[in-house]
């Protein structure tokens, strides 16, 4: 008599650092796009930058489960740091990025002290309040920030002293792509590290994590600071490549749209933010030309639909389809 073969249960694997073919293919897309779609390089670098910003939100929202309505605060801080440095004569891009990351990280650490204490509602309100406060501050300090007119006159130097930012957006695209890729690798490493695993544990059960010796507030503070720094770099990239800082970098709509992109792409997945940002910005490029009112209606309906019917966003849906295909057919 044959023993019934036990279904092949693969042990839950720890995440390893290996790059899968799909990931490599994903990163080839922006490289190919650079050569095939030279007219869309400006849009392309926008997508990369916003994708990086969405990735930073994903670290705290998708992985650690902190709902933030004010993540644009750090994006704006980074943008203004890089922009102000350049306006006042420090146009070297790389150090500008580092300065922006540092400033945003300090701000992120300070905010994290307030954020880790509360419940969901308090977190939401505190992040929202801090975002609005910064917007108001930038608005009122028009002598420094340019107020609602934005900060213009951002004069950038050459990247590594070799390539200057040109009107066609070539340098901007490559520069953004390289920076975004490097930070993506960092985020990928963080997510696969013990820190990343403990964050997922906190998201799933914050009360149980202390029982296995995980210092919950410290983990949350760490990731919040890292996410703020990455958001700051994204903001700085935008300031440097567009050579302008608008006050909308700090605004609530930016935080809300970011949430939309992330959820559309799939929160809690490394590529969710990038995919969501790409789809969102491409759709915006096509549709908002028709009418801003329809665009707003469209985002609203889309959000409601995603929440009600399409949990996990696009990547979540694809993963389900993939899992079904992989299931051994008997």
């Amino acid at each position: 008599m044959k023993t019934t073969a036990a279904p092949a249960v693969r042990p839950a694997r720890l995440p390893d650092g290996r790059w899968r073919p799909l990931e490599i293919a994903f990163w080839l897309v922006p490289v190919v796009a650079f050569f095939l779609l030279p007219d869309y390089r400006v849009l392309g670098s926008q997508i990369l930058i916003v994708g990086l910003f969405a990735l930073s939100l994903d670290l705290i929202l998708g992985y650690a489960g902190i709902v933030s309505l004010g993540h644009a605060a750090f994006f704006g801080i980074g943008a203004y740091t890089a922009g102000l440095l350049a306006v006042h004569g420090w146009g070297e891009p790389i150090t500008g990025l580092i300065a922006a990351a540092a400033t945003a990280a300090v701000a992120g650490y300070l905010v994290s002290l307030l954020v880790v204490r509360g419940t969901d509602l308090t977190r939401l309100m505190v992040t929202l309040g801090i975002g609005l406060m910064l917007w108001e501050a930038a608005n009122k300090a028009a002598a420094i920030t340019g107020g609602v007119d934005g900060l213009s006159g951002v004069a950038m130097g050459k990247v590594l002293g070799l390539w200057s930012f040109d009107i066609s957006g070539r340098t901007a695209y490559v520069y953004s792509l390289v920076v975004v890729f490097l930070l993506f690798v960092l985020a990928r490493r963080i997510v696969a590290s013990p820190l990343g695993l403990s964050l997922r544990g906190i998201r799933e059960g914050a009360l149980r994590m202390p029982a296995i010796g995980s210092p919950v507030p410290r983990r949350l503070r760490t990731i919040f600071t890292v996410a703020a720094a990455i958001a700051g770099v994204a903001g700085a990239l935008l300031a440097q490549t567009t050579q302008f800082v608008g006050i909308d970098t700090l605004g609530f709509p930016r935080s809300a749209e970011l949430l939309v992109m992330l959820v559309l792409g799939g929160a809690g997945r490394l590529y969710g933010g990038l995919v969501g940002a790409a789809l969102f910005l491409i759709a915006q490029d096509y549709l908002s030309g028709l009418s801003p009112v329809y665009w707003q209606l469209g985002i609203g309906l889309l959000l409601i639909a995603v929440v009600l019917f399409a949990h996990g966003g696009i990547l979540g849906g694809l993963a389900k389809v993939y899992a079904r295909l992989r299931r051994p057919t008997r």
Partner: protein, 287 residues
């Protein structure tokens, strides 16, 4: 000193308006733990309904206000039954996203129908100008506002503390499961309370056109204020949101009057400080 009394008075009028609009949110957040960022949309519906009633159909201001209440309450019950109730058990993130989506839809629809500009309001003769009290002039409309809200508050207090329906609300706030076990139809209580809260928001929207203004971005512009009233006041009581709304109103008016260069800064700072000092709200039973 004279200006201080004027600021205090305007602040109280402003605060009572915030209270009427936000009290419904306190129930949504408190009873079903639903983070509803779209609450301001119901106030906006009330505002537009009263504007249309007055300008297109020539209905007097005081008669337009009940219409605002009814329209917003009807909208509330429809949305509650069709959409909101599906998400009671969803995560806060889903609720936030859903209600942001609703805000965007509301803004787009309002812009589509009424255009992006501010709506005018024609107040009746007896509510315009100033009333002389003890040698000092007070805006007649502000007095009307405070009086209306005072009456509403007493009525709400009576409803919640003295009627069977109020007892059902309180029981459901304290413990929805036990309340359901005692035979209270928690779903129905919530639907009715949601409608009542939306209706009050609509009424507040109609009352507030003269003070808050009315344009399609209304739900977004005042979202923070409504959330703040609830977060600071705590949920499940009338007193908490009332006190919070009055504090908020007075500080906001005072901030804009005494330190205009700080703009909205005062109120956001107050919000963060209050949230840190009272994470469960001033009188909150649970966060």
């Amino acid at each position: 000193m004279g200006s201080f009394i004027g600021v205090l008075f305007d602040g109280i009028a402003y605060g009572s308006l915030l209270f009427v609009i936000a009290i419904g949110l306190s129930v949504t957040l408190g009873l079903m733990n639903f983070v509803n960022l779209a609450h301001g949309a119901f106030a906006m519906i009330g505002g537009y309904v009263s504007v249309v009633a007055m300008t297109r159909f020539g209905i007097p201001f005081l008669a337009a206000l009940p219409l605002a209440f009814v329209a917003a309450a009807a909208m509330g019950i429809v949305l509650e039954r069709t959409l909101y109730q599906r998400l009671y058990r969803a995560s806060h993130l889903d609720q936030v996203l859903f209600s942001i989506g609703l805000v965007y839809v509301a803004i787009a629809v309002a812009t589509f129908i009424f255009g992006p500009s501010q709506q005018p309001v024609q107040l009746p003769e007896f509510l315009r100008g100033q009333v002389e009290v003890a040698g000092r002039g007070f805006g007649a409309y502000r007095i009307f506002l405070i009086a209306t809200v005072a009456v509403l508050t007493v009525a709400l207090h009576f409803l919640i503390e003295r009627t069977r329906f109020g007892a059902a609300i309180r029981a459901s706030v304290d413990n929805a499961i036990a309340a359901a076990g005692l035979g209270i139809n928690v779903n129905r209580v919530f639907a009715l309370t949601f409608a009542l809260g939306s209706g009050l928001a609509g009424l507040g929207g109609g009352l507030g056109i003269d003070v808050l203004g009315l344009d399609p971005t209304f739900p977004l512009k005042y979202m923070v204020y409504f959330l703040l009233v609830v977060a600071v006041g705590g949920v499940g009581t009338i007193k908490g949101p009332l006190v919070a709304a009055l504090i908020l109103g007075v500080f906001d008016v005072a901030g804009k009057y005494y330190v205009p260069q700080a703009g909205g800064f005062v109120i956001y700072l107050l919000m963060v400080v209050l949230l840190l000092l009272f994470p469960r709200g001033l009188y909150g039973k649970r966060a």
